[in-house]
Amino acid sequence: MAEAAVRYLRDGRLEGEHAPALSVSGSLQCCPLAARAMLHVTAALASQAASGKSQARGLVIVAFDRSPEVYLDFMRRRGLDPNTFNRCVRILDCYSDPIGWKQKIQSQQHQESSVEPCSMDKENVTIFRSVKDVDKLMCSIIDLGRGFEGEGKIYFTIAIESISSMLKHASVSSISGLLSNLRSHDQTSSIFWLIHSDLHEPKFSRAFECLSTMVASVEPAVVDSVYEEEIPGNMSFLEKNYSNAKFYVRLKRRNGRVKHLYEELCVEGNDVKFISSPSVSAEVNQNLLPKVGLYISSSI
């Protein structure tokens, strides 16, 4: 339930608790759809922040996989006007020059280079050039979050796209530490991230799932056990998987129960749509408290 996930993140944290965290995972079979689901959640939270309906005053997007222009275009199409976008969204651009090559080239040339990432002209986009330095990354995220205006305590939401790109530059332990520190920061309302599960060993993907309080998996709509080359021309399952997927959500509640939700995800034009399937969704009672048995025996 995408809307349930958005509401969960929108409501933010309770006093004394860590911020809720959503992990969105997908694989190559349906990777465009996992990325679109992430965009959908990002845009929805930006709208909520803009309209004052969320605990967070703004959204900090840590962009590794896409140019900031992609987010700007998507949110514009979703109806978020540029002024509102500038007020409620900050993008930490880790895509354009992640390890500082372009800046180094520019300084070597000693001249105003025409090769400037378009993000340099945007007031709400900050280029980050040291993606290997996780501590510096964390400070930059927090600084951007503190920059939102408002009265009282300012909360902000953080979106990271994607953890898989971060893992190219930093270790699992350092990124885990970053996510934990961000969750525990007293101004973080909520945090969510995208991870491509087949780019890592399963234990690493599970490690990041353990850091989250909600896991959303985007899985192929059709699974064909026959490798596609053996049936040339019969690519209907591929076509189906590029436009449809299954969206599974596992939400850990405060009472220890885990709620399982399911929706179908499909592409509609430039947007993505979620279709509920109430007959499939189920609630799983998992009491995390240990059961204690009390036996009384009498020797009389």
């Binding site: 080239i105 087949d198 780019l199 430039n270």
Partner: protein
């Protein structure tokens, strides 16, 4: 097949304007011909090309494209083809870091792309790499350095009206580990795969090519599969 026209499937797939094209092949069905077709297509369309060649010297491409009716020597002389002979890559001072060599290479590519962009009547610029598997070997197996370099090439596609075409040999990668191949499939807008026919060899058909257009930014997803006969 329209041998010099690029085939209907290829033209159709490229017509949607993919920014990052990954061409996959194997020993049984080499796909160097796809690069040759795309190279000819890029130059015929009035654009410019930076060809990063690790597999063959310039004379090889010149000979092959000449048979296809394209004079690479002339394009090189006119500044529309920038040929990077990388057979000795990384080269440079002994003991130098691989990342420094990739940084210098990226700087050279950015310079030619930038020069093309500010030139009059500048057309589409294509960066072509033949091939990424050899680039990984030249980097002594450092996938991270190769991925950093490729990422910067990809940023050119979003900032400079550029496209990136890379060739990779899919059969040298194990299906169990996560390697360069999987990373490339993630960043590709279009995957063109050459494979042998399931029915085996035939007299007049050498293999088949299929294309898998993936998400192109936020554009509509197009899925068409076809067979290109040689």
């Amino acid at each position: 097949m329209e041998e010099y026209g690029g085939g209907n499937l290829l033209s159709e797939a490229m017509g949607s304007g993919p920014r990052v094209v990954v061409v996959e092949d194997c020993v049984e069905a080499p796909a160097a011909f796809v690069l040759h077709l795309l190279l000819k297509r890029a130059l015929a369309g009035g654009g410019a090309v930076a060809l990063l060649a690790l597999a063959q010297p310039f004379s090889h491409y010149d000979r092959v494209l000449r048979k296809m009716g394209c004079n690479l020597s002339l394009h090189r002389k006119n500044g529309r083809l920038h040929f990077f002979d990388l057979q000795a890559f990384p080269g440079g001072p002994k003991g130098g870091a691989i990342s420094d060599a990739f940084f210098r290479l990226y700087g050279d590519i950015q310079r030619v792309v930038d020069a093309n962009r500010i030139a009059e009547h500048a057309g589409q610029f294509t960066v072509m790499i033949d091939d990424v598997s050899l680039l990984e070997v030249a980097a002594h197996g450092s996938v991270d350095d190769v991925l950093d370099f490729l990422h910067y090439c990809v940023t050119l596609t979003s900032e400079m009206n550029c496209s990136l075409v890379v060739l990779i040999h899919e059969d040298i990668y194990s299906s169990e580990g996560v390697g360069l191949l999987l990373h490339l499939r993630y960043i590709a807008d279009l995957v063109i795969r050459a494979a042998p026919l399931s029915t085996g060899l035939a007299i007049d058909v050498h293999g088949q090519v299929s294309s898998f257009p993936l998400l192109v930014a936020l554009a509509n997803i197009i899925t068409r599969i076809g067979v290109l006969h040689l």
